[in-house]
């Protein structure tokens, strides 16, 4: 099979430019790159059809080198239509990006960045579980360390040592080093570091 050198050279140049352009961050350049790639591929398909200028006749006895294969051109036609639709759609997207963000660049995924910056410590999974040794009603702690029971029922009181105390103060009445105090401290300490 003879191959047209001009077609081959042009095809190579189109591929090179196309690959260079789709590596850019600018959307318009990416689109131009995709168009060049599609056209380079069309030339590649055309090259498989044989040398240009021969008639597309076919019979069992014809020598393959003496006629042109018409099928690749049908394939190219389909591929042109498809790349036309995709190009139109890309232009629409690029225009929409411009309207929304006033920029022509590919934007980063925010959630991706957020996950990447999340510390490996997770309050829910990794925090020390407080050991409840007392049967007195202790303040309920939310996962973020906030005292949610205080907001719900601020007047919760406890009888301790002949006095009436607020519930959250009752825990502090116990000696330092007792189970409750240590547990609450352990629970709070890493959170201060882990919270964003």
């Amino acid at each position: 099979m003879t191959v047209n050198l001009t077609l081959l050279t042009v095809m190579g140049a189109l591929y090179a430019c196309g690959i260079y352009l789709i590596l850019e961050r600018s959307l318009t350049r990416v689109l131009l790159g995709l168009m060049l790639l599609a056209n380079a591929t069309n030339l590649l398909i055309l090259a498989t059809g044989g040398y240009a200028g021969l008639a597309p006749f076919f019979s069992k006895d014809t020598d393959p080198a003496s006629y042109n294969d018409p099928l690749p051109q049908a394939l190219i036609l389909t591929s042109i239509v498809i790349s036309f639709a995709v190009t139109a759609f890309m232009l629409g997207i690029i225009y929409r990006t411009w309207l929304l963000a006033r920029q022509d660049d590919i934007q980063d995924d925010i959630e991706d960045r957020r996950v990447a910056e999340t510390p490996s410590f997770d309050a829910e999974d990794d925090a020390v579980i407080p050991v409840e040794t007392s049967e007195f009603p202790l303040p309920k702690l939310g996962s973020d360390g906030s005292d949610s029971s205080a907001a719900a029922e601020p007047a919760a009181t406890v009888e301790a040592g002949g006095r009436t105390l607020l519930a959250e103060h009752a825990a502090l009445e116990e000696k330092p080093g007792s189970g409750n105090i240590a547990a609450i401290d352990n629970d709070n300490a890493p959170r201060a570091g882990g919270a964003k």
Binding site: L44, A47, F89, R96, L100, E124
Partner: protein, 529 residues
């Protein structure tokens, strides 16, 4: 035999539906009725097709009466008709879900009534890709479904969707260009693009050319199937689309890529020349994917990573080139389409009920909506491969095939598969513990919906949050997933037969090219060792 000649209708009916719904674009009620009716009809037809080849056999339909090596041919065999039925069932459920969502939100006059025509075109593209017996027609099928998916992905044109859409479109177009280059080179090397004809002519090529064509096709399909080094586009682009769209993409689009890889490996390039690289890639896909899932706090992103990870199982089954492995892969594809879609649909419901899809902000859903908890729990355990669900059966089949193969790499993959299964369990258990199990007060910035007192049964609020059409279609898919477990016996039998037929190739080639066609012997021992 006569039934198979109805195969083109599987493509034509959805396209007809798309045209009709496009005409009815201003009448949303008629649009809904037409699209659901035509999709149900398609599903019925595909069930008939599956029934006609249930006990084996392959049928080919020549489009336009052109004789095969020149004309386009559609091929119905067990694998393709099984894929058709599962994919249509799933897309019908998603369509009902999307319709319910649209009706609940009262978007009768919204500009997104473009959804129905585009969705039906997507279904037509998927059917065309499954049925195609011609490499260029496969490309056209891919393009139909991709172009429809571009529109669905950017539905509404909001900032995040456009951002995700750009990544998705560019990656998909590059993979399509690669596929087209591969087709051009295949045509240049053999002078045909009919897959049955190629199966004969490719075996006459010298090994170097053959490997080049093989690798190019696998890379093009690998991007679409999201196999490890080519998978990074998927978790970035899927989660931002509307819930039903993400669900149908997750279920169908990557599986079309896997289907094309299966056809490439079995029909076009049989033998074990690329089995070792495929196995390594499968292992990396499983492990890297699931590690990514563990780091996520958004349920949709987490599920997207498990999707990538579980593609590894299918590639593993494919890479073994044994009947047992391929059969397990076929079963696993059917299982995974159903389960992954139902999980994404449930996530859509969670987002409606809990106001967020981030596990940090969700809590106490098991108490608020026990039905929702059940709908999540069953497919989640199924995905993780807890016995007796179909996920366990599929993985068990793969492990047995891997141990049967007995090479060190196969053992590594078996261990990797078990590890991935355990890590999947960890990932979904984390979602379960946070979104469903803990108290609402423990969540970070919980949505007011979670803390509010539940409305009485049948109250106006409950109906708006969880419309019965959406819950019903999700329930239908979950039940289908369980049915795959109950009827796993006959299904595995069909999977076994189809795997044997695909590895043998003679029924496919002779159905397309005529009974007397000699089938070239498969050259084994190329590079498998």
């Amino acid at each position: 035999m006569n039934l198979a000649s109805l195969a083109p209708l599987a493509v034509v009916l959805p396209i007809l539906g798309a045209a009709l719904t496009f005409v009815l674009i201003r009448h949303s009620r008629a649009q809904r009725a037409v699209s659901i009716a035509l999709l149900s009809l398609t599903l019925l037809l595909e069930c008939l097709l599956l029934a006609s080849v249930w006990n084996g056999g392959t049928a080919a339909v020549n489009i336009g009466g052109w004789v095969p090596p020149w004309g386009i041919v559609l091929v119905v065999d067990q694998f393709s008709s099984l894929m058709l039925v599962v994919s249509s069932a799933v897309s019908l459920a998603v369509l009902v879900y999307a319709t319910g969502q649209g009706m609940a939100d009262g978007d009768q006059d919204a500009p997104v009534s473009i959804f129905h025509p585009t969705y039906l075109i997507l279904v037509a593209g998927v059917s065309n890709a499954f049925l195609s017996g011609d490499l260029f027609n496969l490309y056209v099928g891919f393009e139909i479904l991709l172009t429809a998916s571009y529109v669905l992905m950017t539905l509404g044109g909001t900032g995040p969707r456009i951002r995700a859409g750009v990544t998705y479109v560019v990656v998909s177009v590059v993979s399509s260009v690669l596929f087209l280059i591969a087709i051009a080179m295949v045509y240049g090397a053999t002078g045909t693009i009919n897959m049955a004809d190629l199966a004969i002519k490719l075996s006459e090529l010298d090994p170097g050319t053959k490997t080049l064509l093989h690798v190019m096709l696998l890379v093009a399909f690998g991007i679409k199937a999201a196999v490890f080094p080519l998978s990074f586009w998927l978790p970035d682009s899927y989660p931002t689309a509307p819930a039903p769209v993400t669900a149908v993409f997750a279920g169908l689009l990557t599986k079309v890529g896997v289907y094309a890889m299966v056809r490439t490996e079995t029909l076009l390039f049989p033998g074990d020349s690329l089995n070792t690289p495929l196995m390594v890639v499968a292992l990396l896909t499983m492990i890297v994917g699931i590690l990514g899932a563990l780091a996520q706090s958004d349920i949709k992103r987490l599920l997207s990573f498990t999707l990538v990870s579980h593609i590894g199982y299918m590639v593993f089954g494919l890479a073994m080139s044994s009947v047992a492995g391929l059969a397990a892969a076929v079963f696993y594809v059917a299982h995974h389409i159903t389960i992954q879609t139902s999980l994404f649909l449930v996530t859509g419901l969670i987002e409606r009920r809990g106001g967020s899809s981030s596990v940090d902000r969700l809590a106490g859903l098991a108490k608020l909506s026990p039905l929702l908890a059940l709908l999540f729990f069953v497919p989640a355990m199924n995905l993780a491969g807890i016995p007796p669900f179909s996920g366990f059966l599929g993985k068990l089949g793969l492990m047995q095939a891997g141990i049967g193969l007995g090479t060190p790499l196969a053992y590594a993959l078996v261990i990797g598969g078990v590890l991935t299964s355990l890590l999947t369990l960890l990932a979904v258990a984390r979602v379960w513990n946070r979104a469903f199990w803990r108290k609402a007060e423990d969540a970070e910035h919980p949505d007011p919906v979670l803390l509010a007192v539940p409305a009485p049964e049948g109250g106006a609020t409950a109906v708006r949050l969880l419309p019965w059409t959406m819950v019903g279609s999700t329930l239908g898919l979950v039940v289908l997933g369980v049915a795959l477990t109950v009827f796993a016996g006959p299904l595995f039998q069909v999977a076994d037969q189809s795997a044997a037929a695909m590895l043998d190739r003679s029924s496919y080639i002779q159905a397309v090219l005529g009974d007397g066609t000699p089938v070239p012997a498969v050259a084994l021992g190329g590079g498998g060792r």
